[in-house]
């Protein structure tokens, strides 16, 4: 080739090989498949990703800082808005940290209601992941079906808490309200229906050759690497590591429920898909047990130092009125100290590190968001993969930018 080339060149001109260099490409922050405002700087060699750099912070909300300026009770509605696809789980995580500071008992009925709300949120979040993740790869019908079922979860949220997404349903020492009449029957209908819907999603995807070609063997991360990167949740379990906070450090009475932790093996996008689909089925199992074993009794502690007195006491008891006024205007003051409380969110371990200086507001709240830690491993997963696979791999990590940036 070079020979023929030089022959046609004019006198005195030397031929040299054309060099090539990596191209830098910005993916996002307005890319639909980054599921939020994430910018990835990709270094491409042709179509192959050689290097990448995450640029986060586009959704920075300063919630961690805001917590320092709110009483403990006022922090709860803020926690909703971090991981906005699983607000009940954030509520519980935040509230558990405060309860740990106070060393407070939570009544069993409140624990069970929390479990129900959290498992519903887990299914709802996995549905969004499945819907958008498959939509990214062109599977539109799964997306629509997932949204249809999620709507039922939102209806349940609304019937219980009054809001479809930002439930803010916990209070320090329990939950804000008892379950409304007929709610458990509505939940039971959902629990009965949902497994057949999961079968539908699986019929569409699990053996589908196109889906498999886009996911099998992609974005692999080994168990050792996943642990090194601090990855948690289905991404970690997809690599075969058996770590689920609900099993390893049970909270809210998860030890009473019989459920499995699905484990993948290959650590690729397909393994994570299988893990999450299986997790939805396990959540249904938990819900089914929780409905049958829901204990009676109070749903919030009767400790008047932290929980508002029932409304019908207000006209009768001066003491209740005083507690009510003090709690609302000032809040309560936990003893000085620091705690770490953590729960299993749909994305992994969600932790709240809370420092109290003995005043009515937290001195510092540090959140350990699962999305932030899982996102760090993305560079590793997409290295050497095709540009088009990046979309599938981001989808399989299931990041929530509100959780990353908080």
């Amino acid at each position: 080739m070079a020979d023929t080339f030089t022959q046609t060149l004019p006198e005195g001109v030397e031929a040299r090989e054309l060099g090539s260099e990596w191209m830098e490409l910005n993916m996002g922050p307005q890319h639909p498949s980054t599921h939020g405002v994430l910018r990835i700087k990709l270094k491409l060699d042709g179509e192959v990703v050689r290097d990448s750099d995450m640029d986060i912070g586009y959704l920075h909300t300063g919630f961690e800082k805001s917590f320092e300026d709110k009483t403990y009770a006022q922090g709860i509605p803020f926690s909703d808005r971090m991981d906005y696809l699983a607000p009940p789980i954030n509520n519980v995580g935040f509230t558990m940290a405060v309860e740990k500071l106070l060393d407070l008992e939570v009544p069993p009925r409140a624990q069970a209601i929390r479990v129900i709300m959290m498992e519903l949120a887990r299914i709802g979040s996995h549905l969004i992941w499945l819907g958008t993740g498959s939509l990214d790869l062109g599977a539109v019908s799964t997306f629509l079906y997932c949204w249809r079922e999620r709507e039922q979860i939102l209806d349940l949220n609304e019937a219980y808490s009054g809001v479809r997404m930002m439930t803010s349903f916990t209070r320090v020492g329990g939950v804000a309200w008892d379950l409304p009449p007929g709610w458990l029957e509505q939940l039971q209908r959902f629990v009965d229906l949902f497994p057949s819907r999961v079968d539908d999603y699986e019929a569409l995807l699990t053996n589908n050759p196109i889906w498999k070609q886009r996911t099998v063997g992609l974005g692999t991360i080994s168990a050792a690497e996943a642990i090194e990167w601090g990855v948690t949740g289905p991404v970690l379990r997809g690599s075969g590591v058996d770590y689920d906070v609900r099993k390893a450090f049970p909270y809210c009475g998860y030890e009473q429920y019989d459920f499995n932790v699905p484990l993948g093996r290959a650590g690729d996008t397909y393994a994570r898909y299988l893990c999450r689909v299986q997790e939805m089925r396990e959540s249904i199992k938990i819900l089914d047990q929780a409905i049958r074993t829901l204990p009676d009794g109070p749903w919030i502690t009767d400790n008047r130092k932290v929980a508002l007195p029932p409304r019908d006491e207000l006209p009768q008891s001066m003491e209740a009125v005083i507690h009510h006024f003090r709690l609302v205007s000032e809040g309560f003051k936990p003893p000085a100290g620091d705690v770490y409380a953590f729960v299993e969110s749909p994305r992994g371990e969600l932790g709240f590190y809370m420092v109290s200086d003995g005043s009515n507001k937290p001195y510092r709240v540090k959140v350990r968001p699962p999305s932030f830690c899982n996102l760090q491993a993305l560079s590793k997963m997409i290295e050497g993969r095709l540009m088009a696979d990046v979309v599938a791999i981001i989808g399989s990590i299931d990041i929530i930018l509100g959780d990353v940036d908080r």
Partner: protein, 191 residues
């Protein structure tokens, strides 16, 4: 904890491995692929599902002509309530403003006099404003109010044409309540 410490496979209490018969398929395109017949069966199963959905009734609503019902506990636009005799319930205690996590309520209280009696207690709210652009509809104000003066109603379509109109004043908040508000308050239980 190192990787070797963990026994991942073969635990009896673990669910069966999730991966099917073609486990460990190397990445495409070189990989061994399932047979064409298996592919076609898998696609046909999916198509059967979608075809079934095609003939099942639609679940969508034609908003805004059709609307889904709101639950009894829905936390939407606020109202200030009155007693049957027309007096305002609000006693200007500012507890709602103290409870609000985002600080979007402004209450300025004034004394009731015999000539100008607005509420049964000593004081009433001369100014009561909620900045609906800031409100996050957490319902803390409703919980905080000792006389159940401020409640959240079922309305959720709160669009308007200017930012000023989202500062809901006392006049706007005292508008007649939707009929089922008492039922709504009761539905939340004695808490």
């Amino acid at each position: 904890m190192s990787d070797e410490d963990r026994e991942v496979d073969g635990k009896p209490d673990q669910p069966t491995p999730l991966r099917g018969p073609d486990e460990g398929v190397p990445p495409h395109p070189e990989g061994k692929r399932p047979s064409v017949a298996a592919d076609i069966t898998a696609l046909a199963t999916g198509l059967k599902t979608t075809l079934g959905e095609f003939f099942s009734p639609a679940v969508t609503l034609e908003y805004p002509e059709d609307k889904s019902p709101r639950s009894e506990r829905y936390r939407g636009r606020h109202y200030l309530r009155r007693y049957e005799n027309g007096l305002e319930r609000c006693i200007g205690c500012e507890l709602c403003a103290a409870a609000c996590p985002v600080g979007c309520i402004l209450v300025i209280a004034a004394e009731n006099t015999d000539e100008n009696r607005v509420s049964p207690g000593e004081r009433y709210a001369k100014t009561y404003e909620i900045n609906m652009l800031r409100c996050i509809f957490c319902g803390y104000c409703e919980d905080a109010c000792p006389v159940q003066a401020i409640v959240l109603g079922p309305e959720y379509e709160l669009s308007d044409t200017s930012r000023e109109k989202f500062i809901y004043t006392k006049e706007k908040l005292l508008e007649p309540l939707p009929p089922d508000v008492q039922a709504r308050l009761d539905s939340k239980g004695p808490k």
